[in-house]
Amino acid sequence: MNFIDEVRTYLDINHEAVVQSLVDHIWLALLPVAIAFVLSLPIGWLVVRFGWVRHPVLTLSSVIYTVPSLALLLLLPGILHTSVLDPLNVVVALSLYSLALLVRTVVDGLESIDDQVVQSATAMGYRPTRRWFTVELPLALPVILSGLRVATVANISMVTVAALIGIGGLGQLFTRGFQLGFYAPPIAIGLVLCVLLALVADTAIVLVQRLLTPWTRAEDAR
């Protein structure tokens, strides 16, 4: 029996579990990115608006990012009073990582805007809130969305670690293969699905980016 047949046989028997792992993986990876994205905008605004916030926030971001993921997943139940098997731990941990990454790109994005443009928006008679949502945020989007791509792909890969503490996702296929004495088919299936998921998610963000920032293509065409 060659490898392809082995994979096929594995899928015939386990397709329900594989699909369930995929579904778990998707929401475990994407929900934290969504939460982090929503939180990163006001935090990024604070950093750019109030200089003194900058140092503590960006330092904290770096510190969070250096905590090993497995350690964080084991520590969180103690802090959140959740059970070790609660998926909430994974969501919180990955939200923190994504937030650490996205706050920095939101700050970079907002600071990449030409001050002349902001000044002229003010001189046209924009009030600060409207100016932020209709001038500053759109102009920061190219940088912010490229950060979102990195955070999304990183999350999709990082969710696999959750399997080590017994939480679902495609990582379960890796642990299964390990338990079966390095049985390759589930590992290969998990790997391929993980990569495909990352590619699909990345492409989706690129498409959204093209839709939301048409002027950047006008710049590239020059």
Binding site: D114, Q116, V117, Q119, S120, A121, T122, A123, M124, G125, Y126, R127, R130, V135, P138, L139, T213, P214, W215, A218, E219, A221, R222
Partner: protein
């Protein structure tokens, strides 16, 4: 009318950008604020629409204190053009122009229709309306900047070095068109420049600023050239004041001699219709180097007398027929009389 009443802007570090400025900018003309860098001209401009608030003193537009007005609403009622146009890179040209009407609550469709009209008015084609600013040249962007400032039809326009980011040829064209546009619109325009020639060319009034935001002189461009208030102004206005001042003097009263007059052994030769061909003497036909009309300035006439082989400028009528000549001597006497008259009229 925009009035500055004893306006001072002092920064926390003690720098005085503008010191006790009192200045009245008349309605319906171009007033140019000019001076070396760091003289407070831009700060003064930006205090009019409250981009900067003064430390003390009051600024009134048509009698209304700007500090008592909502900054956003005040700014929407004042057009604003800056050096690199400051266009929104993420909006198409037409949406850039529609900015202020949309802020004022005008429906987008209606604001765009008006924007198309304005683009045409500043010399841009409808085909450019859907482009992004990055796809336009510097000169075109500047035109869009002017159209955007005009969109809500504000009575007052502020322009901060609007023509200095483009090359001299484009600048010349933009300036001409700007004067044409202002001729149609008659806005109250306050413009900042560091270029005295631009100030003299565009301004109905020129305010020369000295270091520390001191107003050194406010007068017409002509007076600035002929009667600089002090050494600073004279130095800033630069060389050739006398010659440049002739731009503002008409040639209507200048007496001409008959076209048949012989000058230095040369005589004007005409074609059958009476148009000048050149100067003839003993040898070949020498060029006239051009001619002037009744309405031209003394600067044009002077230049022609300098270039002419006979030392005389040829005046032509509307059909281009020569109707008189002016010799250097006669011109010099006329300019001298004029200058004497001007100095006498001030009583000083």
């Amino acid at each position: 009318m925009i009035e500055f009443d004893d306006v001072t802007k002092r920064y926390p570090d003690g720098t005085v950008a503008v010191g006790g400025l009192s200045l009245t900018i008349p309605t319906g003309g171009i007033t140019v604020l000019v001076g070396p860098s760091g003289c407070g001209k831009t700060t003064s401009l930006r205090m009019i629409n409250r981009m900067i608030d003064p430390t003390s003193g009051t600024i009134r537009i048509d009698g209304e204190d700007v500090l008592k007005q909502d900054p956003a609403l005040l700014r929407r009622s004042i057009g604003y053009v800056i050096q690199h146009a400051g266009l929104f890179p993420h909006r198409t040209v037409v949406d850039n122009v529609a900015t202020v009407p949309v802020l004022n609550g005008v429906p987008r469709k209606q604001a765009r229709a008006r924007a198309y009209e304005l683009l045409e008015r500043v010399g841009l084609t409808a085909g450019m309306a859907d482009r992004y600013p990055v796809q336009l040249s510097g000169g075109q962007q500047q035109r869009v900047g002017v159209a955007r400032a005009l969109a809500a039809d504000p009575p007052v326009m502020l322009m901060d070095e609007p023509f200095s980011a483009v090359d001299p040829v484009v600048r010349e064209g933009l300036q001409q068109e700007f004067l044409r546009l202002q001729g149609e619109l008659g806005k109250t325009i306050v413009m900042v420049t560091h270029d005295i020639d631009e100030a003299i060319k565009l301004g109905d009034h020129v305010a020369v600023f000295a270091e520390g935001g001191r107003l050194a002189q406010l007068s017409t461009p002509e007076e600035l050239l002929s009667k600089p208030a002090d050494d600073f102004v004279a130095g800033f206005v630069g060389r050739d004041r006398g010659y440049r001042g002739l731009s503002f003097a008409g040639s209507a009263d200048l007496a001409v001699e008959p076209v048949t007059t012989e000058v230095e052994g040369l005589r004007l030769s005409l074609d059958d219709a009476g148009r000048p061909l050149g100067w003839t003497g003993s040898g070949a036909l020498l060029p006239t180097e051009g001619s002037f009309h009744l309405g031209d300035s003394l600067r044009v006439v002077t230049d022609l007398t300098l270039l002419s082989p006979a030392g005389a400028a040829v005046r032509v009528d509307a059909e281009g027929r020569a109707d008189g000549i002016v010799r250097q001597g006669a011109l010099a006497a006329y300019v001298r009389e004029r200058q004497l008259g001007r100095l006498g009229s001030t009583g000083s």
